[in-house]
């Protein structure tokens, strides 16, 4: 497993940077890839892996930096077609198949040259050859509609489709979490095939949270953190623990505001519990701040939604909750703001029960309460009747907090609410949460930012939809959370 057999560099990037608004997704990435080499790309959520992949595939243009492929810089504007012509293919994490089309028809989406007479037959033949090569015994037919397949089969099709040559010979394959939905057998088949693929002098970038796979298949491992490459190491000289350590942050933990004693919270009655079988795996008392950690998409948001539904009266056998809940959405644009409403209306929509008087809304009280929250949150606006979009992102998020906290609900569910929020707002809100918790409110706080967990009394780590560990505030360290997040059982 050495990359010295063919020293010619296939891909070279220098100082590639990309930002989305105020968020710097990539802060200057240098990466070199040899022909016949497989790189494992690892890093925590938001480390910039997917952004880097989107730059290479031509879906995004870098803000600055340069790169060359096969020894020459891209000729004209770098876009998807250009990258395809160079021989770069991608398998995206969120699948890009069209569920209403057949397997053969889906080939047409990625290969513009499939047209004219009998294109369907040619597409079928190509795809089936690729499937037979990578996943022998797959049992798929080209005329099956994708929507009828399970998620694992879909991923197989997606991968096989990317490996079909098309007009241009394949040079570089980028796989983003390709095994997330594959069973062990199919995943092993894929990893075997990747080795065969690079043995033919092709190259591969494998992005995965399953470190076992990375260690098994790659020649070199690149660790990213905060939009930068922080470590590049030969796989032979690396280990799981070392990678986990490199992914984490070394900064000293931020001290949570106003230390609270554990007994103080534990003496209070339990307001909610999640059971798995007879045992309670997650429980929260009045006045506690509970953190939900783990990699994104491992069931944290689903739990919040289940809690919310259970509190609203949908019976859920695994959940005990007898208090009302209020929800603070993290994805402001889709789940949060009402774009056509004023700032005040966006707040008061969460308080309507409290504002009702003889079936009508008490507008006077609505106004008073909105002004109260404006002062308490330090909302920067000349007038609460302005459109919600007149506010900055951070201030919009404050409005969403006011919506939840202004209600009478004793339990507040927060779905990664600080996404894309500036530091000042964060500190205002941390203080507010601590204050409300002292008043007896319970917070269930899903966050993807490790530092925020220090504001929690207890932290539950999620993996594959289940709670895999509980950490008290004193035991909390990023390494422990990462270790639990990357728990792999019987790989």
């Amino acid at each position: 497993m050495t990359s010295t057999t063919n020293p010619e560099a296939l891909l070279h990037t220098r100082d590639c940077a990309k930002s989305f608004g105020a968020v710097q997704a990539l802060r200057g990435v240098d990466l070199a890839l040899q022909r016949g080499e497989c790189i494992g790309l690892v890093g925590h959520n938001g480390a910039g892996k997917s952004t880097l992949m989107n730059l290479l595939s031509g879906n995004l243009q870098p803000d600055r930096g340069e790169f060359s492929f096969a020894g020459q810089p891209p000729s004209t504007g770098w876009d998807v077609r250009e990258s395809q012509h160079m021989g770069i293919r991608c398998v995206y994490q969120e699948l890009s198949l069209c569920p209403n089309l057949t397997l053969a028809e889906n080939m047409r989406i990625t290969q513009p040259e499939l047209c004219g007479w009998a294109w369907r037959q040619r597409a079928s033949a190509q795809l089936m050859a690729s499937l037979d090569l990578i996943f022998p015994g797959h049992g798929l037919r080209p005329d099956q509609v994708v929507g009828e397949l399970g998620i694992g089969r879909r991923q197989m099709v997606e991968i096989a489709r990317a490996f079909t040559p098309g007009r241009q010979a394949l040079e570089l394959m980028i796989l983003d979490e390709p095994t997330s939905s594959l069973d062990n057998h199919a995943a092993a088949q894929l990893l075997d095939y990747i080795r065969q693929f690079v043995a033919q002098g092709k190259s591969c970038i494998l992005i995965s949270h399953k470190l076992g796979e990375i260690l098994q298949v790659s020649d070199r491992i690149v660790v990213m953190r905060d939009g930068q490459v922080v470590e590049t190491v030969a796989t032979a000289q690396s280990s799981r623990d070392q990678l986990v350590a490199a992914m984490g942050q070394d900064e000293a933990p931020v001290d949570g505001s106003a230390p609270r004693t554990a007994q103080q919270a534990q003496s209070r009655p339990t307001v909610l519990a999640l059971r798995a079988g007879p045992a309670a795996v997650l429980h929260a008392a009045a006045g506690e701040i509970i953190g939900l950690a783990g990699l994104a998409g491992h069931g944290q948001t689903e739990l919040l939604l289940r809690l919310h539904a259970a509190a609203a009266g949908h019976s859920d056998p695994d959940i005990d909750i007898d208090a009302a809940t209020a929800f603070v959405a993290g994805d402001r644009q889709t789940d949060g703001v009402f774009g056509l409403w004023s700032i005040a209306r966006n707040m008061s929509v969460g308080w309507l029960d409290g504002l009702r008087r003889r079936g009508l809304l008490d507008l006077q009280q609505e106004r008073t309460q909105a002004e109260h929250w404006r002062a308490r949150l330090g909302l920067v606006t000349p007038d609460l009747d302005l459109s919600i979009y007149s506010l900055s992102g951070g201030n919009q998020q404050k409005v969403l907090f006011a919506r939840a906290l202004g209600s009478s609900a004793p339990v507040i569910l927060m779905d990664d609410p600080m996404r894309g929020v500036d530091v000042g707002t964060k500190h205002d809100v941390y203080g507010l949460i601590a204050e409300e918790a002292r008043g007896g409110r319970t917070f269930i706080w899903y966050t993807t930012e490790f530092d925020e967990l220090h504001h929690c009394d207890r932290v539950f780590v999620f993996h594959n939809g289940a709670v895999v560990g509980e950490l008290a505030r004193a035991e909390l360290s990023e390494e422990r959370v990462l270790n639990l997040s990357f728990e792999e059982r019987a790989a």
């Binding site: 876009d79 890009s96 028809e105 513009p112 047209c115 294109w119």
Partner: protein
């Protein structure tokens, strides 16, 4: 106890439902009015469905990309007005006007994609533009369609009446265009997963504009056939087509989202909607009640389809 069907059987059932509904209606019409069972009778019965078929195909193109066209009725009216006013005297100007109208459709598609606007809003606005143009062109009902168009629509086709020939031809053409061709596959892909299509390097603006342009061409055909039948036009002549074409396309198996459409189904749907109206007339139901009854028939068929969907999900 619910009978167990395989997924294949259900798919077949799905496809057959509109055909079944059409056959049932046809049988009912023949039962009430045996004289309809002739060349002349069928011609008379199905003639009205011909322009609607093309309007439904236009609607189907738009549904294929998960949009909705609320302007097709007034667009067909405008085309009919152009056909009755400009086409006989100034054919060149008429052709230019029709081309401009199609370009307008394409532009609407491009704007909807580029500005991420809801198609319902854009096409609703557009419907007033078409209506305004039609009123300017033909303030009071009238005009006279060119003779060649009128003669073509009155043509006595061999073996089967003209509407049946046209229905078969349209279904085959539409099927090839949207289901079989490489372009149609891309269009349906756009309706189901636009992000995937964009990622593969296609220009969504151009694609959507192309789809809307094709819908515009179908709309032009519908309008010209309509004015060929009626020989004169008015600015509201086809305004009911907007909703009827949506109903017909959905009846024929199209879904509002997800790029699931069927051209033969759309044609059958258009025939069914037309027959339902005639059937009610044969039943001597007061015109006041006919629209409601038509709606009832629609609800029954769509209810059956929802039931099949439920079975599919099990």
């Amino acid at each position: 106890m619910i009978p167990k069907f395989g997924p294949r059987t259900l798919t077949v059932l799905h496809t057959l439902l509109p055909v079944l509904a059409l056959s049932l209606l046809l049988a009912a019409v023949f039962w009430r009015q045996p004289r309809a069972m002739s060349y002349f009778g069928l011609n008379l019965l199905l003639n009205l469905a011909v322009p609607l078929m093309f309007a439904t195909l236009a609607q189907m193109m738009i549904l294929a990309v998960s949009d909705l066209d609320l302007s097709i009725g007034s667009f067909v009216s405008l085309v009919a007005c152009i056909g009755a006013v400009l086409l006989p005297q100034q054919p060149a100007l008429a052709v230019a006007a029709l081309a401009a109208a199609v370009a307008g459709y394409a532009l609407a598609g491009a704007v909807i994609e580029a500005r991420r606007l809801p198609s319902i809003v854009v096409t609703l606005g557009l419907s007033f533009v078409w209506l305004g143009c039609a009123v300017l062109l033909l303030p009071t009902p009238g005009g006279l369609a060119p003779d060649w168009l009128v003669d073509a629509m009155a043509w006595t086709a061999p073996m089967m009446p003209l509407p049946i020939w046209l229905a078969l031809l349209t279904a085959a053409l539409g099927y090839w265009l949207i289901t079989r061709s490489a372009f149609g596959t891309l269009v349906r892909g756009l309706g189901a997963n636009p992000a995937a299509v964009a990622r593969a390097g296609w220009s969504l603006v151009r694609l959507r504009a192309g789809v809307y342009a094709i819908a515009g061409v179908f709309g032009v055909i519908a309008g010209l056939l309509l004015v060929g039948q009626t020989t004169s036009a008015d600015s509201n002549i086809a305004s009911r087509y907007t909703l009827v074409s949506i109903a017909a396309a959905i009846l024929g198996g199209a879904k509002f989202v997800g790029g699931r459409v069927s051209a033969p189904g759309a044609v059958v749907g258009a025939l069914t909607m037309t027959l339902a109206a005639s059937f009610l007339a044969f039943l001597d139901i007061a015109p006041d009640w006919q629209v409601g009854m038509q709606g009832l028939i629609l609800i029954v068929v769509l209810g059956l389809r929802a039931a099949i969907d439920q079975l599919e999900r099990r």
